[in-house]
């Protein structure tokens, strides 16, 4: 039966070698927070890297001794006997550069100025992340990952790994992701960013010095994002037109259940997430486009890919629709790579990739069992 990885603790890796970013800036040194589950085997061939999406972090599975209710964000997928089986694999979760969960990010202290980076933090791309993650792999002595797995923005990192380091990843599991964002997706991101950028408490990104937080903007950004991660059917099913008091109040306070839910989600998020990190993550999403270097031909962008692929999409995901996953599949077919594609019927929209679903989990489990067999 499926088990729980139990109590885990985060670790901090330090990198003293400068990192060059796509935007031209350089970080002289940086730190990455990470967690690991399972045991690295003797030839270090059973490692799996889990890349996180927009608001994710390194706490992927298990809970903390001093905070047992703080369960990792993909705990349903990772653990002994679970699809990403920690009895077989050594699983690494990390917080990406620019994040706000302990890795070097806009709220970290810039050693040059002694103040938070704020607006000075480099704009970060998926390629930059992959470079920074490769150094973590080096430090852990892992030359090649058995698999790199990610949903949404995490899937983009997994795909970029296979392009940048074709010999360092044997399998890519690209879930609810896309070869680049649609125009509509960029538009949604820009509205979210504008909510933050126009918040008077944002101070051009240097709000730390003013000892304020642009919570209003961050809250709006999250509310908008949240709507797009769900499907119309899922929201209708969950809230309908339900009213909190059962009747119209003819005012602007919370009336509909969905308003209550969104405001709660917005408040919760704004209380802990960093506004600059949110901006950086959405820009990384917008910029990702491996085919930009190959005249918008994705098949050519994938020409050097060696990894086997599992591509998974969800029927009700309109932000990263099944059609976008099919573009990935088509480019891999052109290059005659091993690829399987599952289109999971789910009503939960983009969020489906975080949900427990029988078909989704069977596909993940079966694929990873084959990966584990290859290692033996």
């Amino acid at each position: 039966m499926s088990g729980f990885v139990g109590i885990v603790s985060a670790q901090r890796a330090t990198f003293e070698e400068p990192l060059n970013f796509s935007c031209g800036k350089v970080l002289p040194r940086y730190e990455l927070m990470y967690e690991t589950y399972g045991t690295l085997n003797a030839d270090k061939s059973n490692a799996i890297l889990v890349c996180h999406a927009l608001s994710g972090h390194h706490h992927v599975a298990g809970s903390y001794a001093d905070d047992e209710k703080n369960i990792g964000w993909w705990d349903n997928m990772i653990g002994p006997g679970k699809p990403i089986d920690t009895n077989k694999f050594f699983v690494i979760g990390l917080n990406n550069l620019g994040g706000c969960h302990g890795s070097t990010g806009p709220s970290s202290i810039d050693p040059v100025t002694g103040k938070q980076y704020g607006s000075n933090f480099p704009m970060v791309t998926v390629e930059d992340w992959v470079h920074s993650q490769a150094r973590l792999a080096d430090q852990l002595g892992i030359h090649q990952f058995a698999a790199i797995i990610g949903g949404s923005l995490g899937g983009m990192q997994a795909m970029q790994w296979a392009i940048t380091y074709p010999d360092r990843v044997r399998n890519v599991l690209a879930i609810a992701t896309a070869p680049h964002l649609t125009t509509e997706n960029i538009a949604f991101n820009d509205v979210a960013r504008n909510a933050i950028l126009t918040d008077p408490d944002f101070h051009g990104g240097d709000f730390y010095q003013h000892e304020v937080v642009p919570t209003r903007g961050l809250r709006l950004a999250r509310m908008l994002g949240h709507i797009t991660y769900l499907s119309d059917d899922a929201m209708a099913g969950k809230f309908g037109r339900g009213l909190r008091s059962g009747e119209y109040k003819y005012g602007y306070d919370i009336e509909f259940e969905v308003e209550s839910y969104l405001r709660y989600q917005g408040d919760k998020f704004a209380a802990y997430f960093d506004a600059n990190t949110y901006l950086l993550m959405t820009k990384a999403l917008d910029y990702f486009d491996p085919a930009q270097h190959t005249e918008h031909n994705l098949a050519r962008a994938f020409a050097n890919v060696q990894a086997n692929y599992l591509v998974v999409s969800f029927s009700s995901d309109w932000r990263f629709s099944p059609d976008r996953s099919r573009e990935i599949v088509k480019a891999l077919l052109h290059n005659k790579r091993n690829v399987s594609y599952a289109e999971v019927t789910s009503q939960h929209g983009h969020d489906s990739f975080l949900m427990q679903d029988e078909q989704y989990f069977a596909v993940m489990r079966n694929y990873l069992e084959r990966v584990a067999e290859e290692i033996r």
């Binding site: 599992l310 099919r326 599949v329 088509k330 077919l333 052109h334 005659k336 091993n338 690829v339 399987s340 594609y341 599952a342 289109e343 999971v344 019927t345 078909q359 069977a362 596909v363 079966n366 694929y367 069992e369 084959r370």
Partner: protein, 200 residues
């Protein structure tokens, strides 16, 4: 495992016999992937399956068979022209809705196509119709009201379609429960496999 597959599906043996070592194969309606797995293990075939059913997708993946979840009736848009040595459609033709369009897609994507299907002209089927009922058999196990089979045909019918589409038949293998059928195939054969290509 290999021999049991061939025993349970005699058309698989006929199909496999046409496929040289190391070919590339696209298996449409690949089910649980057993034909592709058999071809990989015996002929070092590189291939992909196309399948719609969720359970089969998970099983194929568990079998280490590349599988793309797709509805055959929506076409083969993900696959490029002449990108496979063989495109196979085994015991699925009769359940496709846009059969003519799919035939065109098969010869577009594959340098050759291989199709196996139940022969509706088999004498036992004819006998049941003669007696006043739709045929039910091991190969056609459904009642008329719950069958997925919407485009049943005889060998003659299939050959007429090939002619109509400008498709050249390169080989034919007709079978029944007792083995291969050479004499009166449209009457005595219960299953047929055809190998064909687009007439250039």
């Amino acid at each position: 495992m290999n021999t049991s597959i061939i025993e349970s599906r005699p058309d698989f043996a006929a199909i496999a016999a046409w496929i040289p070592q190391g070919s590339s194969v696209l298996d449409l309606g690949c089910g649980d992937g057993s034909l592709l797995r058999y071809l990989r293990e015996t002929r070092d075939v590189r291939g992909y399956g196309v399948e719609i059913c969720d359970a089969n997708i998970a099983t194929c993946i568990g079998n280490g068979v590349n599988v793309i979840q797709n509805d055959l009736d929506s076409g083969l848009a993900d696959f490029e022209d002449q990108s496979f040595d063989f495109v196979i459609l085994s015991q699925t033709l009769q359940a496709t809705r846009h059969t003519e369009a799919l035939m065109k897609e098969i010869v577009r994507v594959g340098r050759e196509g291989i199709i196996s299907f139940p022969n509706f002209g088999y004498w036992k089927n004819r006998l049941q119709i003669f007696n006043g009922n739709m045929p039910i058999s091991k190969i056609l196990p459904y009642q008329w009201y719950d069958t997925p089979n919407v485009h049943l045909c005889t060998l003659n019918d299939f050959e007429l379609l090939c002619d109509h589409l400008g498709v050249r038949i390169l080989g034919r293998h007709v079978m029944n429960d007792s083995g291969d059928v050479n004499l009166l195939p449209n009457l005595r054969g219960s299953v047929a496999a055809y190998r064909f290509k687009r007439d250039v």
